[in-house]
């Protein structure tokens, strides 16, 4: 495997304001990475600097081992062999779907072009609209045209800037999986920018969570959820609450929920005051449990109810329960903690 993209200590500044601060990550050939974060976290600026539209103030970016950007130096976007899919798709309204797709092809013969066009349209199942204009297509179709247009010149890396945000919610996850299949089939290296974690989970092999310009964690979706590196990631990914507690002996934490047992990481010691992350799926419903908590709120999710429960000290925890267990607000239900691995952060 060779390294396709290497971002090394990259910073981006607008005037005095640094919007991206010393970010580093690498992508192997064929990997799909995602930059995930709330709006204003710098993820789009970072993507645009990989594409060549933003200069770096510190650090460097290497594509296929060649430096394409460092402070005071940047290779023009048209010479980087990157493909980019824009949030608004940026399809050319004066060109047909076919002409849009072959826009970036140069140097090929007419025959090669039409072969590539057919191959790409087949890939996204759009042969029947080849001669339509973009405004005649649905949002999902436009999105796929934008995708194959960026793929057509066989770029070294494909960049996607919130490519699903303009689409209906129901379409997004399905399209994200479709796009992943297409990219994987052609072994294309890609970076996806999004604020939607489900999109990132559906598409990416590795996800970088950005907060306030810093890369908080670069990991798989599973690890982000189960082993968040800091409270920001823990809060941003999935749902959960932080419970104040004290480490009491090996693998035991004393909290308002009682004694919680599970493996602790090595860097906490007996007697440390910590915050314990509890996900809704860490609490199991059990009518026979001695731990009975009052329901203060509940949200119907179809298969499950998400209950908000009140602890004796007034703090809340959340619990996912199969929806045939319908308990009224104000009643108490029995729960027990079931967590193998305890995620803790130092108390403030």
């Amino acid at each position: 495997m060779k390294i396709q993209l290497e971002v090394n200590n990259a910073s981006i500044a607008y005037g005095d304001k640094e919007v991206v601060n010393r970010v580093s990550f690498t992508l192997q050939e064929g990997d799909i990475g995602s930059l995930l974060g709330p709006s204003g976290c710098g993820k789009t600026s970072l993507l645009r600097s990989i594409a060549g539209f933003e200069p770096l103030s510190k650090g460097e970016i290497n594509l296929q081992g060649c430096c394409v950007a460092k402070p005071g130096y940047m290779v023009a976007p048209e010479k980087r062999r990157v493909g980019m899919v824009f949030q608004d798709f940026a399809l050319y309204p004066h060109l047909t779907v076919a002409d849009n797709v072959i826009f970036g092809l140069r140097g090929e013969t007419k025959k090669q072009r039409s072969e590539r066009l057919n191959e790409l349209l087949q890939l996204v199942d759009l042969q029947h609209v080849a001669h339509h204009y973009p405004h005649q297509l649905s949002g999902g179709q436009q999105q796929r045209v934008a995708l194959v247009r960026a793929m057509a010149p066989r770029p070294d890396i494909l960049l996607l800037d919130e490519p699903f945000s303009g689409l209906d919610v129901e379409l997004r996850e399905q399209l994200a999986r479709e796009v992943r299949d297409i990219l994987k089939r052609d072994n294309i290296t890609a970076v996806l920018v999004t604020h939607d974690q489900l999109e990132a989970f559906a598409m990416a092999d590795f996800i970088g969570v950005l907060g306030e310009g810093r890369l908080r964690q670069w990991a798989t979706g599973y690890d982000l959820y189960h082993k968040p590196a800091d409270p920001f990631v823990a809060d941003f990914i999935g749902q959960g609450v932080m419970l104040a507690g004290t480490v009491t002996g090996a693998n035991r934490v004393d909290t308002a929920l009682g004694m919680v047992e599970g493996s602790l990481s090595a860097n906490v010691a007996d007697g440390d005051r910590i915050k314990l992350l509890l996900r809704p799926d860490d609490l199991l419903h059990d009518d026979d449990s001695p731990l009975q908590l009052e329901v203060v709120d509940k949200a119907f999710r179809g298969a499950e109810y998400l209950y908000t429960l009140k602890l004796s000290d007034g703090s809340h925890v959340m619990c996912l329960v199969q929806s045939h267990h319908d308990h009224a607000i104000g009643r108490s239900i029995g729960v027990r903690v079931h967590a193998d691995h305890l995620v803790t952060f130092p108390a403030d």
Binding site: A51, G52, F53, P55, C66, V68, G72, Y73, M74, V75, A76, P77, E78, K79, R80, R81, V82, G83, M84, F86, Q87, D88, A90, Y92, P93, H94, L95, F103, G104, R106, R149, A150, A152, P153, P155, L159
Partner: protein, 560 residues
Amino acid sequence: MQSDSLELKIKTAFQRPAFNFLSFGVVALCLLMALPVMVIVGYIFVPAGDVWQHLADTVLKDYVSNSLLLMLGVAIGVLVLGVGAAWQTSMCDFPGRKIFEWALLLPMAMPAYIIAYTYTGLFDFAGPLQTLIREMTGLGYGEYWFPEIRSVEGAAIMLSLVLYPYVYLLTRAAFLSQSICVLDVSRTLGNGPWRTFFTVALPLARPAIIAGLSLALMETLADYGTVQYFGVSTFTTGIFRTWFGLDNSAAAAQLSAMLLLFVFILVMLERISRRQAKYHHTSQRHQAIVRFKLSGLRGVAAFSFCFVVLFLGFLLPAGQLLYWALTTAEESLDLDFLILVWNSLKLAGLAAILALCLALFLGYANRLQNGWLVKTAVRVAGMGYAVPGTVIAVGVIIPFAAFDNAVDAWMDETFGLPTGLLLSGTLVALLFAYLVRFLAVALQTVEAGLGRIRPSMDEAARSMGCKSQEIIRRVHIPMLKGSLLTALLLVFVDVLKELPATLILRPFNFNTLAVRAYELASDERLADASYAALTIVVAGILPVILLSRSITRSRHEDTT
């Protein structure tokens, strides 16, 4: 790859704001475009001697009161015609509605001075109507009452008939973009169509109505041909008289400055209401409008209203012109007329091309360099549309004549070669005045076109390996083509119709269609003026077609 770094360094240095060649060029151009207005405003402080006192004692009161009266009359006229027609064609359904939708724009093609003299021909003592009355009743001169068309009221009616489309267009757009739900809510709360109109639709459309009204009033203030022909003393005729009759440029400039003050108030009014209009949309999504079906008498009433407006504003005067043209075809269609047409085409074509080039320069400068300096400069360069042609002409001729005199004196002194008039009295001065007045028209169209090319489209092209020239060739030119042609056409037709500035600034013995039509009409040779007038009207129909096409297109997009 190292070579790119240099290119980039140059580019980033160029993009650093503050000062560079691009913004320097934009600011210089904008100052040039603002020159006439600055000259006029500067003249406020130049003493005009006793002429001013004389004006103040005698005619100034008339200028002010007539201008105000005219504005009041036109305001009432365009509001009734414009809002009424807009409501009926956008919210109601009656026989012929689809045709009226675009046909009601046709009076825009009719310059006010042309409709004024056709009506004079129709309603004058010797006109067909009064002749008919005399024949039927046997009464003679002075024995019956007939409204005098050549009066302030007459001028107000003439101007209303051709200026109401401004109100009609903007109000109609406002009605169509109003969330239909708002109207439905009113109906479900028990209000009938009339109550809904007065309590919901009209207040919601108010900013658009006021914006249209201020545009119509700006045109009213700028009008010279109609009021001059009707013998109504207003600011514009006063400026002419002071300039040519009293030969006092300072007093003429000061009258212009007073007129500018009126215009300024209208511009502010328009700006403010346009800004409010943005906030008056309570919801983004709107379904297709369910129109009130008007049948029976109510349908007849709606049809009659729209038909009478269209008939009086376009069909009748155009028919009269056509009739005159047919009866005078033999003597009018001669070489002189062809020269006239060629002069007008040449002038309008040149002005249109120049305006387009400047608009493209300003539009791209604004796109490349989004600083406040360039933005303000571009706005200033686009302000000329509000300034009456008479005022611009005075503001052009004063500095140009001063320049000519200075150059002439210097050349004579140093080389013994007097140069005479270099700029004033030439086509240069005339073209400059046209650019000041109509650059805004081209700029607006070009900027709308450029706005459709989103920055991401440029970036997509670059990421697919296109250099700047290639992006211009493959993306910008094909996408802008339509806007550029529209801009050309709009400026072309506006220049063709322009009268007062042409009258003041044209070179000696240089005639255009507008000037000739006006001159012949002033000499009471109404029928002889018809060919020139008809040519202007026919050319004026082209932008109306464009406008109505863009209206139908936007409605199409609504329904898909």
